[in-house]
């Protein structure tokens, strides 16, 4: 059913439809609307769940960890400082192979304190062992949450999933979204069937101490699972399409790439602005295109390479930077070309930090810079 909803509310509706059983979160802008909506649903009896008000994000993540280990479906949401405060627990959740789903309402990281959008928070935790998807718009955010539960709880995966949606730009934007019927969701998402859980009938120990003789294998297993997920995802995306009658991309999306020689690469909501720019430049006869990266982890390296291999100039646009190096997505894209002969020119652009508007003019500035020599890091719209 199509509804005109705030992004946060739309995500909350999806979490309700997914029947999360234990929800825990701690207030932080711009994430709060999501869990406030959920709290109301629980209060109204629309969602049969335990809503646990905690004293910090560290505990929010810990509560969902404990609940997931006890065999129920869980949900949490946060952003920025809250996500960074959770980092330890994020690693622990992945290490225990618990299928927690988290929404990151992307926001900049202090200091200086800034509550507006960029991707520095979630990009910082990309190595924690969570699958990480970036949404372009609220429909995609909704669909990615459905996929998130399905993938996380798949017995071939059993890893936590983080759905990243730009703070304010998506969380607070009213858009028309197509919310599925409960029966469709139930068909797509079977009841959570944990491989093992905390239960006196089978008293296992979880989170044990591992020495040099076995730790490596646990990391290998997570990495291997991430790689496997790249193969599992397309099949589940097809199933999604069969059930909901709508396509969902989980890895990448190609936009006017066929014959493109100059290609933008980006994640999240700025893709919308770039698409408009691409359309404009195409009208002028320029062979430009766009590659939207949805899965940051696992990074679909081969697919990215295949999509970009015919380009001559590539511009990677990011709302994050590895200070002292370059944009993290730029490094990933460069590495996709490693070992191949046909190296295009791959340049990196950092923009939209701390909520600074990304306009078509910003994208045009990137486009103009492409003609010159390869750039590692260029800050766009810089006022210095």
């Amino acid at each position: 059913m199509r509804q005109y909803l705030e992004g946060s509310h739309a995500v909350a509706e999806i979490v309700r439809l997914c029947k999360a059983q234990v929800i825990s979160a701690y207030p932080i802008t711009p994430q709060t609307h999501i869990v406030e909506s959920l709290a109301q649903m629980v209060a109204d009896g629309e969602l049969n769940a335990e809503f646990i008000n905690v004293e910090s994000e560290h505990s929010a993540a810990s509560v969902v960890q404990g609940a997931s280990a006890t065999g129920v479906r869980t949900y949490t949401a946060t952003t920025s400082q809250g996500l960074l405060y959770m980092i330890e627990v994020l690693y622990s959740i992945a290490g225990l192979r618990l299928p927690v789903v988290l929404t990151c309402a992307n926001r900049a990281v202090s200091s200086p304190i800034n509550i507006w959008n960029d991707h520095q928070d979630s990009v910082t935790v990309r190595d924690a062992g969570w699958l990480q998807f970036y949404a372009e718009n609220n429909q995609e955010a909704c669909d990615l949450h459905l996929m998130a539960y399905r993938l996380a709880e798949d017995h071939n995966i059993m890893l936590p999933v983080m759905v990243c949606m730009d703070g304010y730009i998506l969380t607070h934007a009213y858009e028309a979204v197509d919310l599925p019927e409960q029966s469709q969701v139930d068909k797509f998402l079977p009841e959570f069937n944990p491989i093992h859980c905390l239960n006196p009938d089978d008293p296992i120990s979880m989170g044990v101490l591992m020495g040099p003789e076995s730790y490596t294998e646990t990391r290998y297993a997570i990495h291997q699972t991430m790689m496997d997920a790249l193969n599992v995802i397309p099949g589940i995306s097809d199933e999604f399409e069969r059930v909901f009658g709508r396509k969902v991309n989980c890895l990448i999306e190609k936009y006017r790439l066929e014959d493109a020689t100059q290609v933008f690469v980006a994640m999240g909501s700025m893709v919308g602005t770039i698409k408009e720019m691409v359309d404009g430049l195409r009208e002028d006869g320029q062979k430009v295109g766009l590659l939207k990266v949805i899965a940051h982890r696992p990074f679909p390296k081969k697919i990215v390479y295949e999509a970009l291999k015919n380009a001559r100039e590539i511009a990677v646009l990011e709302k994050a930077i590895s200070l002292g190096e370059e944009g993290p997505l730029l490094s990933d894209v460069k590495s996709a070309f490693c070992g191949y002969g046909n190296q295009p020119k791959i340049s990196g652009f950092v923009l939209g930090l701390g909520g600074r508007d990304i306009t078509k003019k910003s994208i045009f500035e990137v486009y103009c810079a492409l003609a010159g020599s390869q750039i590692d890091v260029k800050f766009i719209d810089l006022k210095i």
């Binding site: 059983q21 234990v22 825990s24 049969n48 769940a49 335990e50 646990i52 008000n53 905690v54 004293e55 910090s56 560290h58 505990s59 929010a60 993540a61 810990s62 509560v63 969902v64 960890q65 404990g66 609940a67 997931s68 280990a69 006890t70 065999g71 129920v72 869980t74 330890e88 627990v89 622990s92 225990l96 905390l198 239960n199 006196p200 089978d202 008293p203 296992i204 120990s205 979880m206 989170g207 044990v208 101490l209 591992m210 020495g211 076995s214």
Partner: protein, 385 residues
């Protein structure tokens, strides 16, 4: 043992009070519990992969979040409708409890989760090599509160976590020591019978960190109580409902001198410091009424409502010594009990140590049990004061 819930083969140091404490706790809980354990010695010495000492479902996540992980476990059990059959325990060391995990513990209390939190208090961060924690006692030496020319070690007294718990309206709060296992286990059982947040703090000697002979674990855990340094208390709904009374308090140096962590006090310079520690013990004794007083109150209460009419004089009682066909009676808190039916009191003698025909009120404090063992015996009268 088939029912063993905390197995041998764990890798704690010889004489580890925490290993002892955990085993006693598990004996009291039985199998239907889930434990969320904080990082620390207990977690490390019980869970070296692929082995585990635990016979109950157990999860470890991090140092500071055991109370929050347990909250999640409890919420999950509640929504699954299993909270009636399964109890939840959260546990950790003094550092995990009183320092880094204080916020998550406060949150757990505040939300009113049906969880028993057990703090194993070995008075420092042992797992990282004996650093000071908020529960490290005054003038004790740790690697981060060393003694030196200008220092006698830790300058601060212990944080009072039981009272912090009380301030959260925790339903049941108690302290215990591994030297009084029955008392400890009774408290664990009682705590588990109450629905809501509970807190038990257990004194667990650490031979390694305290630098004492591992054979003294039990004695030290006993002395700390007998000096008044570690009051054994029980609160319900914020009210002090019982204290372990002390016959004649031992001087603190008897306790201190057994441990290397206090060795620096046994110098000319340290005399005043020992006096300060004595003052802490004396303060506890006064504050919590650990001395006789407490008992006198109990006695009075018992005497005020004589349950049976028959009044025994001491002489009358002494005749009922269980010998030569006489019944075996003893008096306790002003009441006279008939113990004739007990095999453990055959011929009026109990473990070659205690004899019928006497007032055994004071003797009971030396027993490994309290007056709960009298329940199945009839009071036949009162002792004339």
């Amino acid at each position: 043992m088939a029912t063993e819930l905390f197995s041998s083969g764990h890798t704690a140091c010889a004489g580890c009070g925490q290993a002892l404490g955990a085993r006693l706790v598990l004996e009291a809980t039985g199998p239907n519990v889930v434990i969320a354990n904080a990082t620390g010695c207990l977690e490390v010495f019980t869970s070296r992969y692929p082995e585990s000492a635990w016979g109950v479902p157990w999860i470890h996540s991090l140092f500071q979040n055991a109370a929050a992980v347990a909250s999640g476990v409890e919420a999950a059990l509640r929504i699954k409708g299993k909270l009636d059959q399964v109890r939840v325990i959260s546990q950790g060391g003094d550092g995990a409890t009183a320092d880094i995990g204080m916020a998550s513990l406060s949150g757990m209390f505040d939300r009113g989760h049906d969880i028993l939190y057990v703090c194993y208090d070995n008075e420092a961060y042992m797992n990282t090599g004996v650093q000071r924690s908020g529960l490290t006692p005054f003038d004790s030496r740790t690697t981060t509160s060393p003694a030196g020319k200008k220092s006698f070690g830790n300058p601060r007294p212990k944080k009072n976590i039981p009272e912090i718990a009380n301030a959260h309206n925790v339903l049941y709060v108690a302290t215990a020591s591994v030297a009084f296992p029955k008392d400890l286990q009774k408290k664990v059982k009682k705590a588990l019978s109450i629905r809501g947040p509970k807190y038990i703090q257990i004194f667990v000697p650490c031979p390694l960190g305290w630098r004492h002979d591992p054979a003294l674990t039990y004695d030290i855990a006993k002395l700390v109580v007998e000096t008044g340094l570690y009051p054994i208390l029980e609160y319900q709904d914020g009210k002090l409902i019982s204290v372990k009374t002390i016959e004649a308090p031992k001087p603190v140096d008897e306790y201190l001198k057994l441990q290397g962590r206090y060795a620096h006090l046994f110098t000319e310079r340290g005399k005043d410091e020992i006096a300060k520690i004595q003052a802490i013990a004396d303060g506890n004794i006064k504050k919590y009424g650990l001395l006789k007083e407490g008992k006198e109150v109990q006695k009075k209460m018992a005497a005020e409502k004589p349950a049976e009419e028959k009044i025994f004089t001491t002489a009358e009682l002494s005749k009922c010594d269980g010998k030569d066909g006489q019944p075996a009676y003893f008096a306790y808190n002003g009441k006279v009990y008939d113990i004739s039916g007990s095999d453990l009191w055959a011929d009026g003698a109990h473990y070659k140590m205690h004899f019928a025909g006497m007032d055994l009120t004071d003797a009971l404090s030396e027993a490994p049990h309290g007056d709960e063992v009298f329940e199945r015996f009839k009071a036949v009268g009162v002792l004339k004061a």
